[in-house]
């Protein structure tokens, strides 16, 4: 199959030839992978709507918007360091994209054990991210008195959008971590080599599932970059 795909035309000619062909529009791509791409496209619209709503809300509220570098600052050794926690969180999440990419590589090589280990590492980074987010939320709620419906530092919409958007993203990360753990277990057990059937779907799967998982995970990281830029840096 791979050989046949390499013979297909490249560039714009390839695009037209793929879309005017029969059977598959995305040649050699598994159904699951194509589905994940389309799902992520849809999910992109959700996050875009959230961020555009945030921009609108921020523009139309009359109360002053709190200074992000102060709100999200941390006290370290007696000095206040702006954006310290969030910098660590971002670093951890971006690193997890790296371990995920390595897991996908070992998946292609059908290296069962290393693939599972790197999936676990990725899950660990994800869990660390969510934990730090929980810490951040706790501090904001208990120390700063920020609530979704109240904000002692200025516009109430700050709290509303902050908890909604980071919460929605955090939910994505949490779901990702759960699926990473499931995939790690399946990989370790060798489901993709033995053709063991899925519990719910009763269908066989293969290592492409790791890549599909990776697509989702990289997407969640990419979204975080935008949330980080829009919410914390501005």
């Amino acid at each position: 199959m791979n050989g046949a795909i390499n013979k297909l035309p490249k560039g714009w000619d390839g695009l037209t030839s793929d879309f005017s062909s029969d059977q598959k529009a995305f040649k050699g791509m598994s159904w699951g992978k194509a589905m994940m791409w389309i799902f992520l496209l849809s999910d992109t619209f959700i996050f875009s709507c959230l961020l555009i709503s945030y921009l609108t809300g921020r523009a139309s509220t009359t109360a002053p918007w709190p200074d992000a570098s102060i709100v999200f600052g941390l006290e370290m050794f007696g000095t206040s360091v702006p954006l310290l926690l969030i910098a660590i969180m971002t670093f951890v999440l971006i690193s997890s994209s790296g371990t995920m990419a390595i897991a996908v590589k070992y998946g292609y090589e059908k290296n069962r054990k290393l693939c599972a280990i790197f999936l676990l590492l990725t899950a660990l980074c994800g869990a660390a991210f969510v934990s730090m987010q929980a810490f951040e939320w706790t501090k904001l709620i208990l120390v700063e008195g920020l609530r979704p419906w109240a904000n002692p530092m200025g516009a109430v919409q700050f709290g509303s959008f902050f908890f909604m958007i980071t919460g929605f993203h955090g939910t994505h990360v949490t779901v990702g971590v759960i699926f990473l753990l499931i995939m790690a277990r399946k990989t370790w057990r060798g489901d993709f080599d033995t053709g063991r059937r899925g519990y719910f779907t009763t269908m066989k799967s293969d290592y492409v599932a790791i890549e599909i998982m990776g697509l989702y995970w990289h997407f969640v990281d990419l979204v975080w970059v935008f949330i980080f830029a829009f919410f914390y840096l501005w």
């Binding site: 598959k24 194509a34 619209f45 139309s60 979704p148 109430v156």
Partner: protein
């Protein structure tokens, strides 16, 4: 064409789940055909609720002295009628129902790409219906905010069902979106990645094109409703103020609102960024189905197939940049209105292409006035009328004058009410043999058509006149504020509504009676070309195609080809078996 070089299969045959019990065969079915029928039945059942609500509203308008509804229940009925008909009936029926039933069969696939996810899609949809209906049982009843659910009035006291009713409505809509996404991903991937050998995108029947593009629109438009709904839910439940402006907070509606500083316009933007594409989520499948009905029942190839496909795609793209034409009176700069009026009127171009192509498909065709053809013609005329009044609605100047009058009600009922419903009926009469192996009664079908079609005109034509007189919509009782001719019309409309509503019993009698003991359908009863009629068994069995998947050699519209022995050449007939027929390259 007679493309003899058919490429080999690119992937191994799809492995299917084989059910072992009655439950997994008929209830928790993973077969797209069954899921399609489940969607059809569930959506039709909820449509009956919407229908009864509309009859109650009409009785209230014509005979306020009967007091069948009070102001609260009237607004609740408006809200539920709108939401049910647009989302839970038409969207679910066209995409979930006909999508599941027809996509795998028409493109020569064994099933949807992910049958398990497909099954979940239906059951989440069923759950959303339960949650929606549950809002009749909670304190305060369902929300009465109007189907657009505009805040702040949907949240503030004074609107019926402003707490529990609204919460259940939003939860139900979110569930619907989740369920739809599962199904929608299936439809898109199945069309893109699971076609039969020889089935290129440009050989697909227009029905599949309509449903496919509508699904893509829906996957990109529902996120806006999801986000808008989520924020409205948070405003309602935990008291955030995304949408709550300061002016509401400072006025006292019997309740101290601690919220303020939000933007109510934001919800309108999010809602209509979904709401306008939603019109085409319903209309595009209808366009596609009508194209096929015209072609099959006029025994003629569809005129300008490629233009039909590109028109569908153009409408889909344009549908995302016209949303604010629903908000001309919301209060924004006229330049904004100018932009949206321009894009709105641009939609007339691809739609006009479709209208002319249908007309030219019929022109000098061998038209059979079967029931599906009658319904398709009914759609054609109704949609044309609705489209023409759309010119008034799309222009800012005329729209501001006509806003919130019955002219608007008449306009949108013609375009996304009556027109798609006529297609639904036409499609059911056409594909009933595919579902049950039996034909529907032709005589009863014609009776049903004429009452429904003429009735629809008798209901909605007078509403245009009422709207021009300035009769406002959403009023629970008109008192003496309206002109005498208009209140007379109100009674007339209501009587016709009751007749048309009761006449739908003919349809249900026909469906139930013929499903049980109708005339057995022969294979390919309409002599159609598309693949769904070419299965080894009729109705098709699990896996659709028996041992061998079909191979496609031509488009679905080789009707009345010169030199052919029959007036149709199915898509899976190779060029060696068509004698001297002069088919064109497709």
């Amino acid at each position: 064409m007679s493309n003899t070089s058919i490429s080999p299969a690119e992937s191994p045959d799809q492995e299917l789940y084989h059910s072992k019990s009655w439950w997994t065969t008929y209830v928790f079915s993973q077969d797209a055909k069954y899921i399609g029928v489940q969607y059809l039945c569930a959506a039709t059942a909820i449509a009956l609720v919407g229908l009864v609500l509309s009859v109650l509203m009409r009785i209230q308008l014509a005979y306020p002295e009967l007091n069948v509804l009070n102001p609260s229940t009237y607004y609740q009925s408006i809200t539920m009628h709108g939401m049910i008909m647009v989302i839970f009936f038409l969207t679910a029926l066209f995409l979930g129902g006909f999508g599941n039933l027809l996509i795998p069969l028409m493109i020569g696939s064994r099933d949807m790409a992910f049958p398990y996810v497909n099954m979940m899609s239906f059951w989440v949809f069923a759950l959303s219906l339960l949650v929606l209906m549950a809002s009749y049982l909670v304190p305060g009843g369902p929300t009465g905010a109007g189907w657009t659910l505009y805040p702040p009035q949907s949240i503030t006291t004074g609107t019926p069902g402003n707490l529990w009713g609204l919460v259940l409505m939003l939860v139900s809509v979110v569930l619907f979106i989740v369920g739809f996404t599962m199904g929608g991903l299936n439809y898109v991937i199945t069309v893109l990645q699971s076609r039969a050998r020889g089935m290129t995108l440009m050989r697909m029947p227009l029905t599949v094109w309509g449903i496919f593009v509508a699904t893509i629109i829906a996957l990109l438009a529902f996120p806006a409703l999801f986000v808008g709904g989520l924020m409205l839910l948070l405003d309602t439940v935990i008291g955030t103020s995304f949408y709550m402006p300061a002016i509401i907070a400072t006025s006292n509606f019997g309740k101290d609102l601690s919220t303020g500083g939000g933007s109510p316009l934001l919800f309108q933007h999010l809602f209509w960024f979904f709401g306008h594409p939603e019109v085409y989520i319903v209309a595009l499948p209808a366009f596609g189905i009508v194209s096929d009905l015209f072609s099959v029942h006029a025994r003629k190839n569809i005129f300008g197939y490629r233009m039909m496909v590109w028109a569908i795609i153009a409408i889909a793209v344009l549908s995302f940049i016209v949303w604010a034409h629903h908000m001309y009176i919301a209060g924004f700069t006229p330049w904004f209105g100018f932009f949206f009026a321009t894009t709105t009127l641009m939609i007339a171009i691809p739609t006009g292409i479709k209208m002319y192509n249908w007309l030219l498909t019929l022109w000098r065709g061998n038209i059979h006035f079967t029931v599906p053809m009658l319904f398709a013609l009914g759609f054609f005329i109704t949609f044309l009328n609705g489209g023409l009044t759309g010119m008034f609605m799309g222009n800012v100047g005329t729209d501001i004058a006509l806003s919130d009058t019955y002219f608007v009600v008449a306009h949108f009922h013609f375009t996304i009410g009556i027109a798609p419903v006529l297609v639904v009926f036409g499609a059911i009469y056409h594909w009933f043999p595919l579902m049950t192996g039996r034909m529907l009664n032709e005589g009863l079908g014609k009776l049903h058509f004429w009452i429904t079609f003429i009735g629809a005109y008798m209901i909605y034509l007078p509403m245009h006149y009422q709207g021009l007189q300035g009769v406002p919509r959403r009023y629970f009782e008109m008192y003496d504020s309206v002109h005498a001719t208009s209140s007379g019309l109100n009674e007339f409309i209501t009587i016709v509504t009751i007749v048309v509503a009761v006449a739908q019993l003919i349809f249900f009698y026909n469906v139930i009676n013929c499903a049980l003991s109708g005339k057995k359908a022969k294979r390919n009863p309409w002599n159609a070309n598309s693949l769904e009629w070419q299965t080894p068994q009729m109705p098709p069995k699990h896996g659709n195609w028996g041992r061998e998947l079909p191979v496609v050699y031509r488009w679905a519209y080789d009707f009345s080809v010169p030199g052919a022995d029959k007036d149709y050449i199915p898509q899976n007939v190779s060029s060696r078996n068509i004698g001297k027929a002069k088919v064109e390259k497709t």
